[in-house]
Symmetry: C2
Subunit: 510 residues, 2 copies
């Protein structure tokens, strides 16, 4: 075997060992959310810290760096995929090396402190209990940005961690459009009032029956229960230990079955992506999801374009009716479809509808950017927050828990993460539009419960590639252009103009 | 802070990191048994291998060895407990260092092969499909014995791994007595026939009701569900990630409620030991169980001395009756007690009664010893096995799955483990005899469901010490003498002479 191939194998072995640890870390986190008894929490935190430190040490080991540099210099002797893996690993290595051990330790400590302070502040509904710790964290994030380096804006360095190549310059344009178009659209909708009666969605839906229905929907989507499982947790999430063990969680509230249904479909969408990554690339960049935005495009596409469509409920509403005849027996699928697609602004991102959602993200984007460049400061950030909610959503935030304290992200040091939620939704609309073009009877298939054509389309165009292409490259390959908000706006206008009777088209025609 | 104290803290930090990995490994195993979807198995195996190799590397790191040697040389500057920790860690380090990386790798591979062959052989009920792989493993175990070193018998080196200080010379005496006394006792009992009707124990007991009853019994014992949880698995087991997260599993068969009850109490006994270890010694020898035999003494004491006693069922039989009135409504507690305490030889160790159990262990002890010193060979080991079952238990083994293939231990390279099962039972009888002496109204307390005096006694005399004393030292401290089989024989004779009416004492008097 040529020397270079041997070295490539060494590289693979090392990355797969790191992946073994990362998968194990994911199990520790999953277990914490799903199973762990309360008294075990503090030692569990220590176990997670030890594994995380080991991952960092293995990732930044200089012999490994030398191996990567050598492989990259000899990339002509590697296959295209191999060379791509090496290139991406080297870039990751170089980035990780920029963060000193002293910084990593200080940042880790600051996150722990901020998280504890956030918990206390939420309990007391008092932002003041959190702002000192948040301030320390923001200073460290500024330091991180300069350690990582950036050209135009410090926030660029942080966004890049979650969405490679994305910049403030690009996102300012995108979110400028979001602001202009969505704020107007949301107001237009609001003026139309409530389209239909929906009180039946808040009756007491038996939890076991809800659970069973969720499993049925997941199975229909193609979620493989031989390579995963669903459990209950406080906040639904997806985690993958490998493409052969991808777990999801959900939450069941008796008076809100659509919440559980939405979570099953959303997490199911994430899980199908992880299950579709190439198993032979385990631990390597080409075996990992492209980016957070593409991940979110998968969950959102299933949740919104599919799971909130009339076609989807044509096959599934009768099944839901059969489980809950007492609440749904007298309804038509059109009435149900209208009821689950009502737009209403509220304080909380996590329960926002698919339109207002992006105004929540926009606010966070503006605040993160402003914190990094000094436009806003942490001391009065709650006021900034409330002002923006008034401006964009027309809401007076009642207290900090429904306001600036609602998300855990900042307390966990995650700055630059929020924008990917919106990017994901916009990619979803653009991809789905293309899928309908490629698969002319797609919605008819969905309407009879056949999700396979869609899943195969996603597997072929997105899942199998791992990180071979960036989000933008992938989007170009699939749709012939970069991310374009107009697909989302067209989707939104077409759908809600019918639901809110903006035009004469009636539901039975779509 | 004196230099030596700083070094002690380094030592503690290193051991606790190793414990973090070991706890994580335990979680990977637990998850495999309890949750993991089938397709994830092979990558899970790889994740376990990576963590195991890391533990070995950290354990045998020569800088760590130098630190231990230095600390041990300066032990006069340490507290008694600190010095004990260092002494035990150094002994463990020296032992681990004797095994070369080449040996560890070969042994690990041989175990994987043997386990796979064992699975196949069980399926085909054919020992021939397993013996080559077992033979490789036995050769490696002989090599391991010489690498570790021994004075009198190669088996000594292997027993020592599970039961520090135990030797063939001692165990030959003990198992000689077991053979003489128990074989005779078992025959004597058998001649008495069946003491009472027990068909009601094999009716269809609702699984959920069994589960609920098991939880009730565990709660009564003092098992802390805030620091643990129970789940279902194929083979019941206990695993501890720390003393604050100690999990147990059970198995429920509709036609055998006593099996689940016995497993809850047995694993509950193991778990109470782990929960009682000193939390501040996390990862250090003084924070770990003394030995396998002492561990087993805890599970067996609860399972047999307590869980199969009349006192225990005085409080718990009415509770069980209330859950299953259709099967138990017309019985007295004495009838129930007799029914659950019937002695009957059978092929399988795991379902053996508390007397015949030790004949199963005796057979395995003799075979392991004979394999190590060349008395027996692997090629015809199934015949040796069957011959001994005929001799000691009077049974003709029908096939290899009920015979030599019944236990997984050998396929996992565990030689020297089995004797600890019997040692544990004998320690249990000896400890319980002493506890009754120390706590004169112990059985009256049990009979009203108050298990706290017993648990406190165990916590004080056993749990809190970790590995501060060896099994023998602990036994001396508690009972004033070393392990003495006569306590077990007295317990057995007293109990079964009443049940089988050897004498005139009647149940209502005991």
């Amino acid at each position: 075997m040529p020397v270079i191939q041997k070295q490539y194998e060494q590289y693979v072995a090392h990355l797969q060992k790191i992946q073994d640890l990362n998968s194990t870390l994911a199990l520790l986190h999953w277990d914490n959310e799903v199973n762990a008894p309360p008294k075990g929490a503090s030692l569990r935190g220590q176990q997670i810290a030890t594994l995380s430190a080991t991952v960092h040490e293995w990732t930044t080991r200089s012999e490994f760096g030398a191996l990567l540099i050598n492989l990259n210099a000899n990339r002509q002797a590697l296959s295209e995929d191999e060379a791509k893996n090496v290139e991406l690993s080297l870039a990751f290595y170089n980035k990780e090396k920029k963060l000193s051990t002293a910084f990593v330790t200080a940042f880790s400590r600051a996150k722990t402190n901020a998280f504890q302070a956030w918990l206390k502040a939420r309990k007391a509904k008092d932002y003041a209990l959190y702002k000192n710790e948040l301030s320390v964290l923001v200073d460290l994030l500024k330091e991180k940005a300069s350690l990582l380096g950036y050209e135009a804006h410090p926030y660029d360095a942080l966004i890049d961690e979650f969405e490679k190549g994305a910049t403030v310059a690009q996102l300012d344009v995108l979110f400028g459009d979001v602001r202009q178009e969505l704020v107007a659209f949301a107001k237009e909708i609001k003026a139309k009032g409530t389209p239909s009666e929906n009180a039946f969605l808040t009756r007491s839906y038996d939890k076991q029956k809800q659970w069973d229905f969720g499993i049925e929907l997941l199975t229909q989507m193609g979620y493989d229960f031989e390579a995963g499982r669903q459990d209950i947790s406080e906040h639904p999430f997806t985690t993958a230990f490998s493409s052969k063990d991808v777990r999801i969680t959900t939450k069941i509230e008796e008076n809100n079955p659509m919440n559980m249904i939405g979570s099953c479909i959303h997490e199911g969408g994430h899980a199908l992506y992880e299950m579709g990554l190439p198993a032979k690339q385990y631990g390597l960049p080409l075996g990992m999801a492209t980016s957070l935005s593409i991940h979110e495009s998968q969950s959102r596409l299933w949740e919104n374009q599919v799971g909130l469509s009339l076609a989807y409920w044509k096959v599934n509403f009768p099944k839901m009716q059969a489980r809950f005849p007492e609440f749904l027996g007298n309804l038509t699928v059109e009435e149900f479809y209208k009821a689950i697609n009502q737009l209403e602004p509220n304080f909380l991102r996590t329960i926002a509808d698919e339109i207002h959602y992006h105004l929540h993200v926009l606010i966070r984007y503006e605040i993160e950017k402003g914190l990094l460049d000094g436009t806003y400061d942490v001391a009065s950030l709650d006021l900034t927050w409330n002002q923006k909610y008034k401006e964009f959503l027309g809401l007076d935030v009642p207290d900090a828990t429904c306001g600036i304290l609602q998300d855990v992200h900042w307390a966990e040091g995650l700055f630059g993460y929020f924008p990917t939620y919106s990017l994901g939704s916009f990619y979803a609309a653009q991809f789905y539009s293309k899928a309908k073009e490629d698969l002319p009877n797609l919605e008819e298939q969905i309407a009879v419960g056949n999700m396979e054509p869609l899943l195969e389309w996603l597997r072929y165009h997105i899942h199998q590639h791992g990180q071979k292409y960036t989000s933008e490259e992938l989007c170009h390959r699939i749709t012939g252009e970069g991310l374009n908000l107009s697909y989302f706006m067209t989707y939104a206008r077409e759908k809600y103009s019918v639901i809110y009777n903006f035009d004469t088209k009636v539901l039975s025609e779509i």
